[in-house]
């Protein structure tokens, strides 16, 4: 189970930092930093810069993303911001706007 889960009805205004997996189904405004995976669920709305090992986006994300491993935008997902990651995939049906840097 994920170390941290932000439920659908929950809103966090501020910074989240840690060393475990983080799953977001609610709202987050601020900054998100972890050394593990980050999952943004289909109901999530995130306005934050995200730093983590990997990022999977099924909801809405606005902010720059830095991942040491990979970034995946799922079908239905929406991401606006610059991405810096070794691997980056955009599924059919996803939307994305921003710069990509895969030179990590």
């Amino acid at each position: 189970m994920a170390g941290t889960v932000i439920g659908e009805g929950l809103t966090i205004e501020g910074d989240i930092s840690g060393d475990e997996e983080i799953v977001i189904h609610g709202n987050l405004r601020g900054r998100l930093t972890t050394s593990d995976a980050v999952t943004v669920g289909g109901t999530a709305v995130v306005g934050a810069d995200i730093t983590g090992a990997s990022l999977s986006v099924a909801g809405q994300v606005t902010g720059d993303v830095t991942a040491s491993e990979r970034v995946d935008i799922q079908a239905g997902g929406r991401l606006v911001g610059d991405i810096k990651a070794a691997r980056f995939t955009i599924a059919d049906g996803a939307s994305f706007k921003g710069n990509v840097d895969m030179e990590v």
Partner: protein
């Protein structure tokens, strides 16, 4: 129903957490927590901020007020510093609580700890004041010391310690040099007196000694003058100075003697500073 939310043991949230549903805090939260569901703070959970929810179950640490619409339960091991309000409040053995507890569910006005904080703040402020005071005194002392060594032995000592002593010393050193100047006018004691006027500076010095504080400044100015005093004070004068009060004798001696050239009378009249300058010019 909404999904349960969890803040893991390795997660730190800096900011406010609010919304619907229940929340379990196993990590740290630096900010207020406000949810509609139940809140569980685990044994390792720490919250700095106010927590509100339906039923609060606390096993960790909270610095802030707890408000439950249904109940607040402090489990063994809980540590709470803040006010507690809820229709039902339970504090289990082994739980620590410090603050106001109210069980009627009404919000509690919180302002008990403000005064303590203020007192602590004031303490540090007081310290800076003493420092300036210390600094001020130190500078004054050094100048006095410096002055004494630099100028010729006679002038410096005269000014600082006591008016009477100085004249005696000045006379002693001078004996040797006076003959040189004396040679021109006359070898006898009188010439020495004539020279005396040149030392004009010494009288000035004598005057200052009575005033203790100004000593340092004057001493510096006088320092350059030292040569004249040596030449001026002849041996014959020494006895005179000793006999009469030092200050009085010096002042009169300078101006008057140059013109007279012959042995001065026991008591010498006082002459203003301007007169000295005039006399010097005439000698040159």
């Amino acid at each position: 129903m909404t999904e349960a939310s969890v803040i893991g043991a390795g997660t730190v949230v800096s900011g406010h957490v609010r919304g619907q549903g229940s929340l379990e805090i196993l990590g740290r939260v630096e900010g207020d927590v406000s949810v509609t569901g139940n809140v569980v703070i685990g044994p390792e959970g720490r919250v700095r901020g106010n927590v509100s929810g339906a039923q609060l179950s606390i096993s960790g640490q909270v610095q802030g007020d707890l408000r439950g619409t249904l109940a607040v339960l402090l489990e063994p091991g809980a540590r709470v510093a803040g006010d507690i309000s809820a229709p039902r409040v339970g504090i289990a053995p082994g739980a620590l609580a410090r603050g106001h507890v109210q069980t009627d569910g009404e919000p509690v006005p919180t302002a008990a700890r403000a005064p303590n904080v203020a007192v602590r703040v004031q303490a540090p402020i007081a310290r800076p004041v003493p420092l300036p005071a210390r600094v001020v005194p130190t500078p004054a002392a050094p100048p006095v010391r410096v002055v004494a060594p630099t100028p010729a032995a006679p002038p410096a000592r005269v000014i600082a310690p006591t008016p009477a002593a100085p004249p005696a010393r000045v006379i002693a050193p001078t004996p040797a040099p006076p003959p040189v100047r004396v040679v021109a006018p006359t070898p006898a004691a009188p010439p020495a007196r004539v020279i005396a006027p040149t030392p004009a500076p010494p009288p000035v010095r004598v005057a200052p000694p009575p005033v203790a504080p100004p000593a340092p400044a004057r001493s510096e100015q006088k320092a350059p003058l030292p040569p004249p005093p040596k030449l001026a004070p002849p041996k014959p004068e020494a006895p005179r100075a000793a006999a009469a009060p030092p200050q009085t004798e010096f002042t009169p001696v300078r101006p008057i003697k140059p013109e007279a050239r012959r042995p001065p009378p026991p008591v010498v009249p006082v002459i203003s500073k301007g007169t000295k300058a005039k006399k010097k010019k005439s000698h040159d």
